[in-house]
Symmetry: C2
DNA sequence: TGTACATCAGTGAACGCGCGTTCACTGATGTAC
DNA sequence: TGTACATCAGTGAACGCGCGTTCACTGATGTAC
């Protein structure tokens, strides 16, 4: 069989791998990360528990793969939205839709950190990909009128954004974009607005607007 | 012994109860909620596993008590700060210090929700106590200059704030105060700013400032 | 003050459970000549 | 095309573990007369 390219064994392997992940997500959506059980997944996939070890060396490695996939998914969604000509508001919309589609996936990345667990390096790389899209989107806007103390501070601590030839105020807006959207989304998804009968989507939209015209 | 007032048995009971909770918090700080084990706590407290059932009917009831205590602690801290004459910025400072003192306690309340678990009613009451302090603090400020679409929407959906004779813009600011602080704090505590070398405290302060002079 | 009784904190053994993971093994699929 | 061998997916039994929770019981503490 063809030495170069994907052999049928490789294709099969990738397919089963995906199937495992898919059921893992379903389980996370039902019971959270702590309720994720390899044996239970195996049963749903239709094979015995130990068989999973052909695909993931351990439970932790499965979770790591899920985290990586989640980051990848969000980064790709944002990049695609931006490349199709959307502005900052469009990106915000994408983030919101992505989060609402699968809240537990959102929380797996941005929710409570598991003490002791450290994400692998490549996830921080994907994370900075996300930041890059935001910075590019904000650099298309007219620059902020006035500077804040944090802008001044950021001017001296922007090595992490060396690749971006933008003013500190732009970095600031990208960061605030991120923290504010996260603030509304995570409280909404966690149900902290229940009892207040306003529409979280409108609050979200309003937060985005304040970032567009500061 | 004195029929009215706390008997020595009651005092002892309350003391052991506190000791259990204290070790529970230590365990949560180390391994998160999912790592909380009744047997392990019992061992640390110095008694056998089943003895805990004299104090908490189940693991879930222990966690519920911890959640309630956490809410209570934050609400009391905010109330005390406000009553001692502090303004909105002072309240923000209190929130930040409270969160940094024990990140896992913060996340127990505002972090990833456990699917299926529903907090008891009294925690939502305490939650609205917190909201009340924020609304009172913002009502002391000069009213916002311009109104947003969300303000208009809030005007028609403010039954939850019926007890407060304040304009919708004030409610809006209290809500935004909450979501923005949470956005910065939770991302900071979860370590999502590692790699960017800026000081999260300054970003936090800046977010607070934008709320004071909109 | 002393005795009889009720209350209740804590123990130790035991329950069933599901977990992650290992191991030796079977059987099918692909590879090399 | 056919045969011999290597690769690898998946099985079933077994491991030790710690979990939450129950139960019958002991012994100390408080209460009532």
């Amino acid at each position: 069989m063809g030495a170069a390219g994907t052999s049928s064994r490789e294709r099969y392997r990738a397919q089963v791998c995906d199937e495992i992940k898919q059921h893992a997500w379903a389980q996370i959506a039902t019971a959270g990360v702590s309720g994720l059980s390899l044996n239970a997944i195996a049963k749903h996939v239709g094979m015995s528990g130990p068989a999973l070890y052909r695909y993931f060396a351990s439970r932790d490695e499965l979770i790591t793969a899920l985290i990586r996939d989640a980051y990848r998914s969000l980064a790709d969604a944002l990049r695609a939205t931006f490349d199709s000509g959307a502005d900052v508001a469009g990106l915000a919309c994408t983030v919101r839709e992505w989060a609402l589609r699968d809240p537990q996936r959102y929380f797996l990345i941005y929710g409570t950190p598991v003490p002791g667990y450290h994400a692998p390096e490549d996830t921080t790389e994907i994370s900075s990909e996300i930041m890059t899209v935001l910075i590019e989107a904000f650099s298309a806007l007219s620059p902020a009128k006035q500077s804040t103390p944090f802008d001044a501070h950021l001017e001296n601590h922007r090595r992490w954004a060396d690749g971006h030839a933008v003013p500190a105020t732009t970095l600031h807006r990208a960061i605030s974009f991120w923290t504010r959207l996260h603030g509304v989304l995570s409280l909404e998804l966690a149900g902290h607005f229940t009892g207040m009968e306003f529409d979280p989507a409108l609050l979200f939209a309003d937060e985005v607007n304040t970032l567009l015209t500061p």
